[in-house]
């Protein structure tokens, strides 16, 4: 099964005619728990440009002026005025003439000619900045709270497209711990298949170097004992008086799930989870830390048929990209962490002939600014740790406020133009998107379109149409596709 969509669907897109297509479904059935796809609801799926998607998530708010959208460089000087700071890194040339990015990302600069850079992504003003709330919005397309549990975009791809290789879990989430970190409950709220049910949910691999443990026999169990145990299970099932229920859908699906699991666990694809299988020099090329190792793991998983893989630098309040203080130094470290592996991932995919059919996205929940919290006119509270007019110490030097008026998203492969720049932000504060602003809803539509999923794909849940892009109104940024 490739698409769970009626191929006979009419081609014309008539506004909101989903109810018509429900046919004989009673209102009661529409209210029932299981989500139902609305077949042929005037939804025409675009031709897929990519078969797989890798989202490289810069959790915590990656400052565009410190990465992909450099502004006037203000080097550190004791006593400098805080509002003179736009970027704390000088800009460097890239392999594309009209694109400069920040120093520290020299490897990404070299592969800039493989992708499209969007500099004008904007977020809504939610009144108060809460990372996890914006992350929920970015990952599901819907602003929380919602009356139904909204699925993660990986779950949408898993549900609508399924895996590329049926042995592989379609949705894999690398690098984010969901226990022992702040805001973990808020992270769990969107790291889920929501109303689709856990069949489409993420396989969570917080530590890429331990990923192989998720698909190998329990610790201390030999391969032969593992397969004997499975045989024992099969024989017990065969001998059980309950085999009389063999035709029962619940019983059948349970046995099928166990079989699927065993098939993965005894497959050659299982090795995709083990980055130790890579030659030493390849591991070294990626290994800048957990994120780098995650990128290598993502490459191996996509090579073996995963549909959607997210790799995060990990969101932990006040750590990594969540720079409330010490921004410059922290971002220097993050440059080191992301620069080599991102570039290497692009090159490796290209070398294997996979880049054209793999959409790689580097994104974050919002940008940062040295002075402005939210966007012009926002009433969001200032959350910088040191509120200083003049910068006297390095810890004051950096972009310590959350900015929702203009952020950058980098896309490689997956049918996007090569060496292309889309949108622009102002040169002076406020650094808002001044050209071709792209909303989260339209960004979703763009990603889904690349993957061959109509932005108007809709499921009925509790009698409500629930679209892959918010209310089905997302419009892809067609201009970035080659």
């Amino acid at each position: 099964m490739k698409f769970d969509i009626d191929p006979e669907a009419p081609e014309s897109i008539v506004r909101r005619d989903f109810l018509k297509k429900l046919g004989a479904a009673s209102t009661a059935a529409m209210m029932s728990g299981a989500p139902q796809i609305v077949r042929g609801a005037g939804v025409e799926h675009p031709e897929a440009k990519a078969d797989a998607c890798i989202l490289l998530w810069m959790g915590g708010g990656m400052a565009a002026p410190e990465t992909f959208d450099p502004k006037r460089y203000a080097p550190f000087e004791k006593g400098m005025s805080a509002d003179s700071v736009l970027s704390t890194f000088p800009s460097i040339d890239t392999s594309v003439d009209n694109i400069k990015i920040c120093a520290g990302m020299e490897n990404i600069a070299k592969v800039m000619d493989r992708g499209t850079l969007l500099r004008s992504v904007v977020q809504p003003d939610l009144g108060s900045i809460l990372h996890s709330r914006h992350q929920y919005h970015w990952h599901t397309g819907y602003v929380p709270p919602q009356t139904v549990a909204a699925p993660h975009l990986g779950a949408w791809m898993a549900r609508v497209l399924g895996p590329n290789n049926e042995v592989m879990p379609p949705f894999i989430n690398i690098g984010q711990r969901l226990e022992g970190v702040g805001e973990k409950e808020e992270l769990k709220a969107f790291t889920t298949a929501g109303f689709f049910g856990s069949e489409y949910g993420p396989m969570n691999l917080p530590f890429p170097e331990e990923a192989s443990a998720a698909v190998r026999p329990p610790e201390g169990m030999t391969g032969s004992r593992f397969s004997d145990r499975n045989k024992l299970y099969r024989q017990l099932v065969d001998r059980s008086p309950h085999r009389e229920y063999a035709s029962d859908f619940q019983q059948e699906s349970l046995i099928r799930s166990m079989d699927n699991a065993y098939r993965l666990l005894s497959s050659k694809e299982r090795e995709a989870f083990d980055i130790e299988k890579e030659p030493q020099e390849v591991r070294e090329a990626y290994d800048t830390g957990r994120f780098g190792r995650g990128c290598l793991l993502a490459r191996r998983l996509v090579e073996n048929g995963a549909r959607f893989v997210e790799v995060t630098t990990e969101y932990v309040p006040f750590l990594h990209w969540d720079t409330h203080a010490n921004g410059h130094d922290t971002v220097s470290r993050l440059h080191n962490e992301i620069d080599r592996p991102i570039a290497q991932l692009v090159l490796d995919l290209e070398e294997r002939g996979l880049l054209d059919r793999t959409l790689v996205i580097v994104a974050t929940e919002f940008s940062r600014d040295a002075m402005m919290e939210g966007k012009p006119g926002s009433e969001a509270n200032d959350q910088a740790t040191h509120k200083v007019d003049n910068i006297t110490e390095m810890k004051h030097y950096g972009l310590h406020r959350h900015f929702t008026g203009g952020s950058s998203v980098m896309m490689f492969g997956g049918g996007v133009k090569k060496g292309h720049l889309y949108g622009a932000t102002a040169d002076e504060r406020p650094l808002i998107a001044v050209e071709d602003p792209v909303t989260i809803t339209d960004l979703h539509a763009t990603m889904m379109t690349a993957m061959g999923v109509s932005p108007r794909t809709v499921f009925m849940i509790e009698g409500r149409p629930f679209y892959v892009t918010q209310d089905g109104v997302g419009k892809p940024v067609k201009e970035i596709f080659a």
Binding site: R16, G33, P145, L178, E185, E186, E219, L232, L236, Q250
Partner: protein, 803 residues
Amino acid sequence: MRHFRPAIALFTISLTTQARAEIDFVHQVVPILKEHCSECHAGEEAEGGFSMNTRDLFLDDETAEPGKAHESYFIDLIYDPDPDYQMPPDDKPRVPENQIAVLEKWVNEGMKWEAGFTFGTPTYEPPFKPRRPELPETTDGRDHPVDRIIDHYLSSENLEQPLLIDDSTFIRRVSLDLTGLLPEADRVRRFLSDDSPTKRETLIDELLADDVPYTEHWLTFWNDLLRNDYAGTGFITGGRTQISEWLYQSLKDNKPFDAMVRELIAPADTASSGFINGIEWRGTVSAGQTLPIQFSQSLSQSFLGINMKCASCHDSFLDRWTLDDAYGLAAIYSEEPIELHRCDKPTGEAAKAAWLFPEIGNIDAAAPKDKRLKQLANLMTHPENGRVPRTIVNRLWGQLMGRGIVHPLDAMQTEPWNEDLLDWLASDFQENGYDLKHALRRITTSAAYQGATAPHQNSEEGESYTFDGPRPKRLTAEQYVDAIWQITGNAPASYDAPVARGVVDPALVEKLSFESSWVWGPSAKPGPPPHGEKILLKKEFSPGKKKVRSAGLIAAADNAYVLYLNGRKIMDGSRWSELDAAPIANAIKPSNRLLIVAENRGPKPNAAGAFCALRIEYEDGTDEIIMTDETWKVSQTVPAGSRPNNWKLDDLSWADAVAVNIAQWKEATDKRIGQTLARASAGSDRLVRASLLKADDLMRALGRPNRDQIVTSRPSELTTLEAVNLATSDDLVTDLQAGAKKLAGNLSTDALIDEVYLSTLSRFPTEAEKSFATEALGETPDEATITDLLWAVTMTPEFLIVR
């Protein structure tokens, strides 16, 4: 895309709409709309998402603009010459010009609509008031009221009575349904050999009387229904509170359901206020998710089986509830006047507090909020309110029988497959004091409940449902985890729910209500300690040979801690305002070492502290309290690794702990110390139940919902990722190994196999199974072999599906 009519047409019409008299909606407009539009846009039809059932629906999505016919989209469509866009569709007759003129005039005059008029065809409308149907004659001697109704139904539909299940199937089904636990092997043996004709009823009574297991099983159902949990979104910003303690006690006391509803809707104090107060998010939220609207939605869904989520955005397409209804309920809760919003846009109309079934009374909108809530609570539990009892008995029936009498459970406007059955059960429930256990007993004692489950080839069923016995149910996440712990004895030592599992003595609460004392390392003098600092606190104590009767432990830290007793992790936490507690009588040795790893978090140096108190009661009646103070030792180095038994504590440099006492901490914890510690001391040696724990990965994968929304049914199937998890889990093997250890060596292979089958499947193995298992195990099976047998049995459909 919008198509505008040619200018020429506009000109023509302006000449022909000069009539003086106002348009009469019912006599002039309705016939035109019925003739040309209602086939596709009224009743249950809403092609293109457009339903004209009510005026509000007509206006939804700017289909019409009252006062401005020339800006009204539906008029554009009537004029549109493009066959792909015009309305009615090109295969239907056009609307004559004189009729269009009437419609335009009607729009220009503001689209007057008859109050209460709807194009909707009335679908089934359930009765609201209670009804106690006459019971049909008894047939075949089956005189249980439920069976009299169902047997009558079966014979009038020419259906067979489902076969009755055997005792093994019964004891497993009823134990899991009423207490969530597998019956122990000995209990199964006793039950199977008991030849009393009333043994099934006796068993039901025993299970219902066993109040702690009953409570801890049904807690899951109620937590789902009332979206209560011990962690989740909203708690981090204080935008949500638990009702756990109140709920647990209510279930344990078998509080009448009407009293529960009253306490939830008009709470006397904060113990039960979490339900109506919903989940508050920092920042702005959409109009459909404000706290008053959440109140409207939650109340409707949980107690009335109404999906008010549709109607809180626009008049529902699916049932008769309107935006006014949704906001009427919301206004009962709201402190401030609220304005109706249609699809997140303000309408200018103010909501008036009102409830949905005025036939038994209404809310005094002028009364203050607490009065309004009380009025609502009274209406919900009014003797003439049959909807609330029908909704809850239908849910109970669904829990026990795998499918509701009304299906889905949250759509009570749907016609039940047997109205008499629903109405009889609801009024029986009401007449018996809203007694939940009475209702459960009624259902489980019937032959209908004790019928065999039929196989079904599809999860989805068509329009027609006929009763063919109970539906099989998959073990819930909690039941599965509990079952594994039952088989292996490997349950955790502590739990998250702030509840008392044993009986708490109020005098002890009083006695243990002391002030907390908090400590940190040397960096607290003068402080504040650096962020990211980790310290190790140590305390040794030796009760010697004194016998321990009970022991309880409580702790909290700013910002986080992990506590170990004698090398074993007891609990951890990361909220300074919450006291964690554990009963630890079994863990106390003649000499003991308590270790706490505490961590200071945050973006910059800030106050840090840890608090722990341990109370040991000895058999001789004396007791002892050990609390964090300056006699504790502290190391500013924390050894690596998570096994304290491997730490070289003597190599560390130890200083005296520093007392730090911040008013905020004490304020949050001190008033709860007596209660929490007394509770932990009272904690029995019962296995900790999964329902008392925060959801972990495994439980989430097995279908325990994030309780951010109300979710009233659990998944019926097992997914591949869950299966991968169960096949690769190290923890599961460790647990099962503990179970294997209990079995190995003590029993002959033959007896061991019986024990495994009885304790997991509540039956003896068949001969074929016995001889196969004997061969697989060998004469003296080792732990690994038994472990694998336990794993294999617990993966079979027979174990995972309750039949």
